[in-house]
Amino acid sequence: MDLLFFKITIVLYLGAALGYLTFLVISSGAQPWIGFLLAVGGFAVHSLSILHRAIFSGFVPLATPFDVVSFFSWVIVGLFLMIRYRDPSPIFGSIVTPLAAVLLLYASTLSYQIKEPIVPVLKTWWLPIHVVLAVAGNAIFALMATGGLMYIVQERLIKTKRIGRLHHLLPSLETLDTINRHGLPFGFFLLTIGIISGALWAGSVWGFYWSWDPKETWSLITWFAYAAMVHQRVVLGWRGKRAAVLAILGFALVMFTFLGVSVLLGGHHAFTGNSRFMGPSRL
């Protein structure tokens, strides 16, 4: 029963991914209903899983790396289902659902035991504020990168005049650029206040706001990267392909900061439980 909902979610997301990919290979007329319905079902069970973790831990379920990655995946799927209303391209689903499944598979390798008693540092409302802001920002960056990837492919197809099945299945360039245009300010805003909330949290528990911990350093680098992106878009009028490439590079940086740094460089966001301040791990 421990992670039952979570495991069902993985199965449903994998099923959805399979549904979408099969659809891409064989059918062409109708909508990929199987993939979509499994994704919706997966999202519902995923929500239950998060609720279950909340009841189990007695607090917001964001205190372990497992929960944070799971929440990240949940926000991505949620945003995808929202965007899908506007543009039901099956390609979007066939990128997002495998991504969600892979994230959950990764989460399942992470520690999910909540050590009792919970360290006071984690038993504060700063935890949900900081994590929700940071994760939501990252999820938006993930969707921007997905959109960017589709943009580059679609742009290439139109430029080289290969107007085939893939072209018809992909959304219009305009739609894909809209994801970037709307996502960038939102994501950047969330990233900014995510970093600020982290600093305030650190200040409230340890007395200093910034300690050049690896995660902090890389977050700052990421922040500068997205600040540059906003600048290019707003001031220089970069859009389309260039914006798409930046969205992909930016997301690579995000993933390194979000997942890579903790594993490779340690610090007080580390996954392992032996960092200086925190005892039990978090992201």
């Binding site: 007329g29 679609q154 005049k161 107007i163 360039l173 305009e174 859009r239 389309g240």
Partner: protein, 439 residues
């Protein structure tokens, strides 16, 4: 009764346009053709379908062999001509072939433009006309509803009607894939010739904003602008036009390209990299092909559009293969249904005969049973009825299921001989099954 669907008609494949012009069932507006079809011996139900590419009648008949001639005669009379010289243009299809034909026509698999969407509406109108005249009955009602269902399946499950196959539609589809919704986009026509106008018509129907026209002779541009409710600008303002437009259609008679890469690069800077879709339908070309290499510029010439259209047609044909499978499935289902109708008279006759025997025997034993109390008599009734039901149960369910078997006529024949049934049986059932079999 053995019921057969039958189709007689001509279409764009079997008849040239001069013939199709003559056979149109134009006089059926008042239902006269449909009514004279129903008056024919052996014709029970009728639907008359007429479009610019086909004219056909769909009937339910019990006399497949002789109905064709009679129907053709009516078709001739309806158009005031002798039909004999026209016979070669008509196709006559019966049973499963006819059903398949109706399904294929409705699903737009038999259309001149494969997958075009109008035909479904036209078939629906014809059917409505027929129902209003009370000319359709149980068989054609079911046939037509299954045809609409099949067309819906084909539309939803295949891409037969999806990809654009004319240059004008390809251009609009591409514009949408580049620019999204077109309603608020700006169209620029370069060259005021007929070509530009033709190419722009379909595009302009998607756009709300007035079109801008540029031409070497300003007056011609103005004339066309009046015609298209647009506005004209002189040739030396081309750069402004390029900076503002989202879709450009160029069709001048110029010998040299009129849009150069450098010029376009400047325009892109002015547009702040907003994407632009340029359609060059002029020969020789108006736009230097290198313009396509500029980020955000999508240049298609007439050959490009044509080859996309060609490819899309290939895609539709590919999808049509899937559609044919769906049609075959639905035809098989429909034929199974008509066959289950075939067994019905035999089953009724069998039940009647058994019941008749029971009643006769009960009457014969009336004297011996007279000593029984009403309750006991009731019990005897129930027992005898239950005995014949039990005996009849297996043969009847076998006959019902035999609808799907190819040996159905043999089974029905044997059943009739075994039980010595007669009455209510179509003559052709007990002997030959020549025309209806699918094998």
């Amino acid at each position: 009764m053995s019921l057969h669907v039958m189709v007689i008609g001509l279409n764009h494949i079997t008849a040239p346009v001069e013939i199709r012009e003559q056979i149109t069932f134009a006089r059926d507006h008042d239902g006269s053709v449909t009514r004279s079809l129903l008056n024919l011996e052996g014709v029970e139900e009728a639907v008359v379908l007429s479009t610019c590419n086909r004219a056909e009648v769909i009937v339910m008949t019990v006399d497949l062999e002789n109905a064709a001639d009679r129907i053709l005669r009516v078709v001739g009379e309806a158009h005031g001509l002798d039909v004999q010289p026209y016979r070669e243009f008509f196709y006559v299809k019966g049973a499963a072939d006819a059903v398949r034909h109706v399904f294929r026509v409705t699903a737009s698999l038999d259309s001149m433009v494969l997958g075009e969407p109008q035909i479904l509406g036209q078939v629906k109108d014809s059917y409505r006309h027929s129902t209003l005249l009370n000319a359709s009955g149980p068989v054609l009602n079911r046939l037509m509803h299954r045809a609409f269902f099949t067309a819906k399946r084909v539309r939803n499950e295949t891409g037969v009607g999806k990809a654009a196959i004319s240059v004008a539609y390809v251009a609009v589809d591409l514009a949408r894939k580049i620019l999204g919704e077109l309603t608020d986009k700006r169209v620029l026509l370069i060259g005021a010739g007929e070509m530009a106008e033709l190419a722009a018509r379909h595009l302009m129907s998607q756009v709300d904003r007035p079109v801008t026209i540029i031409n070497r002779t300003y007056d011609t541009a103005c004339a066309l602008a009046v015609q298209l409710c647009g506005n004209a600008i002189p040739m030396d303002e081309l750069d402004i036009g390029l900076a503002e437009a989202d879709v450009v259609i160029s069709s001048t008679g110029s010998r040299e390209p009129i849009i150069q890469p450098e010029q376009m690069m400047v325009a892109m800077r002015r547009r702040r990299n907003r994407p632009i879709f340029i359609i060059d339908i002029a020969i020789p070309r108006d736009v230097d092909p290198e313009v396509n290499d500029i980020d955000g510029v999508y240049l298609y010439n007439i050959d490009d559009l044509q080859s996309v259209a060609q490819e899309n047609l290939g895609e539709r044909q590919q999808e049509a293969l899937k559609a044919e499978k769906i049609v075959n499935e639905e035809v098989a289902k429909f034929m199974a249904w008509t066959r289950s109708l075939d067994a019905a008279p035999t089953i009724v006759a069998l039940k009647d005969k058994l019941e008749e025997i029971r009643i006769r025997e009960m009457a014969r034993l009336n004297g011996k049973l007279s000593g029984l109390s009403p309750g006991e008599r009731e019990a005897v009734e129930i027992i005898t009825r239950s005995i014949i039901n039990k005996i009849a149960h297996d043969p009847i369910s076998f006959l019902r299921k035999s609808g799907i078997s190819s040996k159905r006529n043999v089974y029905l024949d044997v059943a009739q001989k075994l039980f010595r049934l007669n009455g209510g049986l179509p003559a052709e059932l007990s002997h030959h099954g020549s025309e209806t079999e699918e094998e």
